[in-house]
Subunit: 172 residues, 2 copies
Amino acid sequence: MVRNIYTGKVITLNVDTVKLPNGVTVDLETIRHPGAAAVVPIKDDGTVVLIRQFRHAVGGFIYEIPAGKLASGEDPLHCAARELEEEVGYRASSFELLSSIFTAPGFADEVIHVYKATGLTEGRQQLDRDEVLEIIEMPLHRAIAQIQDGTIRDGKTIVGLQAVYIENATNR
Amino acid sequence: MVRNIYTGKVITLNVDTVKLPNGVTVDLETIRHPGAAAVVPIKDDGTVVLIRQFRHAVGGFIYEIPAGKLASGEDPLHCAARELEEEVGYRASSFELLSSIFTAPGFADEVIHVYKATGLTEGRQQLDRDEVLEIIEMPLHRAIAQIQDGTIRDGKTIVGLQAVYIENATNR
C-alpha cells in the first residue's frame, strides 16, 4: 500500500507499507525522484572540469561534476551532454557510461548515470536562474588528492573521478 | 523560511524558501536525514566483506558495504563498528575514515562517513527485524570488476571500494 504524503516539483514522498522477503511488514518512507545524469569531462592532457556549486540542502558550496535531473522521458546520455554544455560550456565527441548508481537506496529511488566525456570542444554555457556555480579545472591526480583530503565530498563526483582514475591506471 | 511537510521515523521533508547567493529566491524541497556510517571490511588477504540487501526503495536486492543510520548523538566511528558487527559479524582492530560523502546534495543533507576496517576478528551478527541480507565475500579486485560491469551500483559502496583500491595501488 502506498500513501502519498507530498508531490513536489522534484521529489515525491510516499509512505509504503511493505512485506519484506522475511515476512516482516514495515512502513517505509520512500522518496521518488526522476533520476539524473552526471559527467566527468576530461581533456586530453588529463585535466578534469569540475564545478563549485551552491547547494542549499548541505549548507553551502561544494565541488561536483556537471550533472542534472532527467527531463521526463529523456535519455540519460542526452541529459549528460546537455548538462555538460549548459553548466560548463563544453561539448564532447565521446561519452562512456561508467556506472548507474543508487545515491540513497535506504530511502530514495534516485539513480544517477555517471559518464566520462572526452574529445572536449567549446560550446556555450547557459545556466538556469537557480544555478550558482563556478568552473574549476585541475589535473585528475589533484582531484583524487582532494577526495582523500576531504575537499571533494559529493558521492557521484567521487564515484566518477575514482572510476576514471582506476580505468587510466589499468590501461597504462 | 522553512515549511515542514512531514516528519517521519527516518527523514523529514521541508520546503525551504531560500535566497540564493545570486539573489534569486526559490522554494526547495529539502530532506533532512540523521546521517549514517558505512564500512569497507577488508581482510589481510585482500578479501572484502559485502552484503546483498533488500532495499524496497530501489525495488530489490543490491550489493552494499555494511552501513547504518547514526543514532541520536552517536559518533560515526562507533556507528561503523556497531554496524560492522551487527550486519556481518566482524569486529575490527583498526578503522580509517576514507570520506564523508554527501549522497544527494540536490535535495538531501545526508552525510555518510565511509571507513575502512582492518584487523578483522569474529564477532556476533545480530540483524534488526527489518534487515534482510546475506553476506558475500570476494577479492577486492573482483569487487572493482563488478563495479565496472554494473553489478555493484550503490554509491557509498563504490566510493569505499574504489578508495581502498586506489590507496592500495598508491602504496604498492
